[in-house]
Symmetry: C2
Subunit: 346 residues, 2 copies
Amino acid sequence: MSDPIKPKSGKRSSSARQSAPTLDDVARITGLSPITISRALNNPKLVRPQTIEKVMEAVARTGYIPNMQAGSLASRRSRLVAAIVPQLTNAMFVDTVQGLSDQLAAHGYQLLLCLTGYSQKHEEELVSAILSRRPDGIVLTGINHSQELRKTLLSAAIPVVETWDLTPTPIDMLVGFSHEKIGSRIGEYLVGKGYRRFGFVWADDERAAIRRRSILDVLGKQGIVDAPTALVPTPASLQLGRQGFAELFAARQDFDVIVCSSDALAQGVITEATVCGISIPGQLAVMGFGDLDFSAHTSPAISTIHIDKRALGVQAADALVAKIQGQPLAERIIDVGFELIERETT
Amino acid sequence: MSDPIKPKSGKRSSSARQSAPTLDDVARITGLSPITISRALNNPKLVRPQTIEKVMEAVARTGYIPNMQAGSLASRRSRLVAAIVPQLTNAMFVDTVQGLSDQLAAHGYQLLLCLTGYSQKHEEELVSAILSRRPDGIVLTGINHSQELRKTLLSAAIPVVETWDLTPTPIDMLVGFSHEKIGSRIGEYLVGKGYRRFGFVWADDERAAIRRRSILDVLGKQGIVDAPTALVPTPASLQLGRQGFAELFAARQDFDVIVCSSDALAQGVITEATVCGISIPGQLAVMGFGDLDFSAHTSPAISTIHIDKRALGVQAADALVAKIQGQPLAERIIDVGFELIERETT
DNA sequence: TTGTAGGCGTTATCAG
DNA sequence: CTGATAACGCCTACAA
């Protein structure tokens, strides 16, 4: 009645090729208005059960699939959360991403996953690309972001969770743990066990560097200043652990402990040392980090730092969703902590 | 001039709180029309360099960030690709997802990642949720999808790539490899090496089951019919490998080869066997699958099936992007093949 | 090279 | 409980 040209076909032509059915199509079929269809689908409480039924039937019959782009545009909610992670091939992050994804899904959000390969410049470009999708929230890995990025994020006024590190001044929210404390703990633990001749097999990664510095601080106080390091690229792997240890061992044979920035490296160190006829922990101790899925079950089992990596992702999701939904936030900064687990290699 | 009510403020009120700047804002500032801004940003070839410069400056000054939801709605292109993967904690899929993400990014697409936890019902729901975002393409893991799902996907007329398996009748495109052939190859190889008393440590996973059946077929032809299996849940892990072997070994001690559905399990079998004082490969051979990052570097190194998991993701991305951009597709079905790698455990 | 008109499919707002 | 109207921010098609 409102369309003077094609009274029978509604707003769009119903001829020729059929594009995907829209809300209007369902409305026309049911004789209801589009907004009622929308409500039946998104806010059923506001609609009479009988009407809902009619709508559902028409939806099923037409194969109607809502267009969230249009919906998001109108409602300014995307139900999308973006996560920026250095790399997936690094076993460290996988559990967190899995936890994040699972928990977001439980809340009805989906995950846009972006991998930076540890490049900060890349991260900046990514965030621009991401923001153009108007996600409801963003998860960042680490706390060192360019000033540019902080500004962009702040002016976008979008909920942000930084992860995998700790700082009193996050951009917005934070779910992480202290690499400094972990370093101190490792240092004190190993010194306490009587180890004095340290070697490091260490990934070239910012956060790992903090842990190492912190260990060295402890060692320094004990007068231990000579602690050679074999630096390896990310992602850490068994192979790199072997190489790292071989490198250290070629230069010097009297280590009594090798500290590794990841359990994968520790596994490699153990392998290489064993191949060289060194018994562990008899002649050499090995300390890992991350408590990866194998660490408790290798032989010997790896002493390490346990972090609840999955919980980290889950809590990041919870914090984000709470903020998105305007719930009063319990805490802006969540320290998930860590635990030193003594197993057989120390 | 076209707005009789607020001639000076353009279409939207410019008062009070400032929402994010839009194309119209940039247009107003530069004195150009919105469409010119759009072109300067998305199709610079069509715009005079001088104009582009003016636009860029205004964009920088206002902090304008395009709204892809609006853009996608109008253009019917989302530059989004969705991938459905069973789980990330399964090391098998990580490389593929990484390759997929990297290659999509290289083409200007972003990745919506969905994890099903191996549930087919879940997959169906997921696809509906995914389609409502109008992705330009979808990547599926495996080839066994409900009829419902196939129908939905086909009627959505969206490019689809199935992966990690092979079939002559994919929904649309396929990048994978043959689990049957791999099974035969493993069986023939091990029989050829003279092994006769087989044990299996096997993940409870559909595709793994196909490989096992195929191995058993080969064994059957050799008159080998008794081959006990320890079934373990996914994701496979070193721990489960140990458990699986312990279970087999408790029932019977005369195996000469243990075949595993994943290198992680193989590593566990090796560990447990070694702990039990069994020498590998002297007394017992072990065969893995997947050629994970550690497999070549353990001691002994694991004989396994190599699949270029990253390339699988990269090629899936390429196939999808090619189809999205309307390029004539070289092949609908890509078999990335596999390679049996003989190392030290067999 | 730039601009005009109209629409993409949905939801907010206000009215009944 | 249901509906009319007007955005949401951008792009396609066509025109100048």
